[in-house]
């Protein structure tokens, strides 16, 4: 049985070099012409199975959104492999991607930027069906769109309105309806609730979970909010500086984090009422720049337990306990 989504050694780099003259630098008495490369994703592996919710957490700049955009080929991967249902789509061009987009759909973070302001809601939702070359007639497509709209909590009167006439939460509902219009098997949700107020956030999270139970698709759920990820995920992956540092079943990771960064992240999370029962781990300093990755482990600059090997050798994500994987030398001892 193939995994619905499989990512192997995915790498993504961006050239952010400035103009010609700014790139000329004198170093050690010699003129150099240097490139600035952001190492956004550095060899990430994970799989998502059918009906599963995989949560990807990490702080800003850790590469989680880049992974999402690379999976649906908004960015071309620099290295690695992306397989959807066993099919290697890494080198697919725009045309070949069209049928794949019927399997993988995306919900974006900013509900104000992800809807075209000049298109009416009905057209926004029917567009993916029309492009997919669905064997449906115009009337059927329209009917299906209406059904979807009422399913996500919008009414018939909303069909002919433009995006600016809606609030943030309603727009996110439109975005969800658009993603579901082609009946995808995997929905990538990139921070779908972080732009929303708390009460609206709960509405959208409940809706997303209800829809998942109803349609049975999988989620790749990307967020920086630990309580959201805890609520929604079956399995989670924790990212740091473009590396996946720990993966495992959501409950296990939250109850018993193994990687020092996961421990620090979880103990830093503010919570209402009860706190997590983990030893507080304070880390100093800030995330290093992705322009120059530290040698060895990406976390060694802030890790209180770092030792020689952490600086010399980059740890690989390996499994030591069943279902769990961590990239940390400490756990080898």
């Amino acid at each position: 049985m193939n995994h619905l989504l499989e990512i192997n050694e995915l790498e993504q780099r961006f050239d952010v070099s400035p103009g010609f003259f700014d790139r000329l630098k004198i170093r050690n008495g010699r003129l150099r012409y240097q490139k600035s490369i952001v190492h956004a994703v550095n060899g990430v592996n994970f799989q998502i199975d059918r009906g599963e919710v995989f949560g990807l957490v990490g702080e800003s700049g850790c590469g989680k959104s880049t992974i999402a955009k690379t999976i649906i080929k908004l960015y071309e991967p620099v290295a690695g492999q992306i397989k959807i249902d066993g099919e290697d789509i890494t080198s697919y061009d725009y045309k070949k991607m069209i049928p794949v987009r019927k399997i993988v759909q995306m919900i974006f973070q900013d509900p104000y930027a992800s809807l075209n302001p000049r298109i009416k809601v009905l057209d926004i939702i029917t567009e993916p069906m029309a492009i997919g070359g669905a064997a449906l007639g115009k009337a059927e497509i329209r009917e299906k769109a209406m059904e979807l709209l009422s399913r996500v909590g919008l009414g018939k009167e909303h069909v002919n309105r433009y995006p600016h006439q809606f609030s943030g939460g309603q727009r996110q509902r439109i975005g969800i309806a658009r993603a579901l219009s082609v009946e995808p098997e995997l929905v990538i949700a990139d921070e779908p609730v972080s732009a929303l107020d708390v009460s609206i956030q709960a509405q959208i999270l409940n809706l997303m979970m209800d829809l998942k139970d109803e349609f049975g698709f999988s989620y790749l759920f990307i967020t920086h909010d630990l309580s959201v990820v805890r609520h929604i995920s079956d399995r989670i992956g924790v990212m740091y500086l473009g590396f996946l540092v720990e993966t495992g079943p959501c409950d296990d990771v939250f109850l018993n984090p193994r990687h020092p960064y996961t421990k620090a992240l979880l103990s830093a999370a503010p919570s209402v009422g009860e706190k997590l029962h983990i030893d507080p781990l304070d880390i100093k300093g800030e995330v290093p720049t992705a322009l120059e990755l530290p040698p060895g482990c990406s976390f060694q600059t802030r890790c209180p337990f770092a030792f020689d090997r952490c600086i010399q050798e980059r740890p690989r994500l390996i499994s030591r306990v069943s279902d769990r994987m961590e990239a940390c030398h400490l756990l080898d001892n």
Binding site: E59, V198, I200, Q203, N206, F254
Partner: protein, 323 residues
Amino acid sequence: MTDTLLHIRGLKTYFHTFAGVIKAVDGVDFSVDEGEILGVVGESGCGKSVVGFSIMGLTEPPGRIESGEIRFNGVNLLDQDERKMRKIRGQEIAMIFQDPMTSLNPLYTIQDQMEEVMKLHSDMSAEQRKKRCMELLAEVGISQPETRLKNYPHQFSGGMRQRVIIAIALASNPKLVIADEPTTALDVTIQSQILKLMKRLVREHRTAMILITHDLAVVSEMTDKIIVMYCGRIVEKGTRDDIISRCRHPYTLGLLGSIPKLTSRQKRLLQISGMVPNIMNLPPGCSFAPRCDYVRDRCRDMPPELVDLEPGHKAACYYPVER
């Protein structure tokens, strides 16, 4: 020990726009004691930031303070002219803003910006000022303060800038610090560093603080007292425990239920249905009535007053939730 530092009564701040009058703050009463941390929570547009700006006297047209009283140390700030307000601002009341990227001037060094407060409010010599700047930077956890003082804001990361802003706010030992969403723009691990730093400094200097935020989790970890706002009014106020574990107003209950828990998994989140009403066209009764699960006829006719449930715990609701 518990002297009232700030006392606000019947504060109304309205914005007169062409589309109509926005009652951003509509009759708010509260007080802050010396050395106390007060949290003001609410969703966007509830008027929580306008409360902060009103205290600082920073409301700009079309915004206007219609009525009310802001007594700080016994003086009504609304009677003070601009010259007197400038004396109070920065020296007695300091403010920390949300966005660490825009609240520092990019054209001046950190030293220039830190010294500005001291130049305005004290007669320290240049040497004393520099020494004080270095002390402050060390206090907020910035290493190599001497070299860092000569840096410009763009040479600092977001968390570092927020540290600098905190240092500036504390430069003249103010009695009250108003922090408007101080950690919203920061990452989780940095947020916890900054919150711990703020709490430690506020306690050490015995400064009072008003922490304005949408994040109930942050408020529940930081504050002594909490005010919950909805559509320009206070719907519930009390001690931290009153609000977090014994809240009575349906809105507070809904807000707390909307937040997923870190410790356990729920099947579904408790949700508040509908949306915040248009603030220019509020319902005649309780503003929360259209979304409330416990609504009855009376709620739709007359807005409820904020009444005592227990000593110190108030809610603006005719039928507070029994728990």
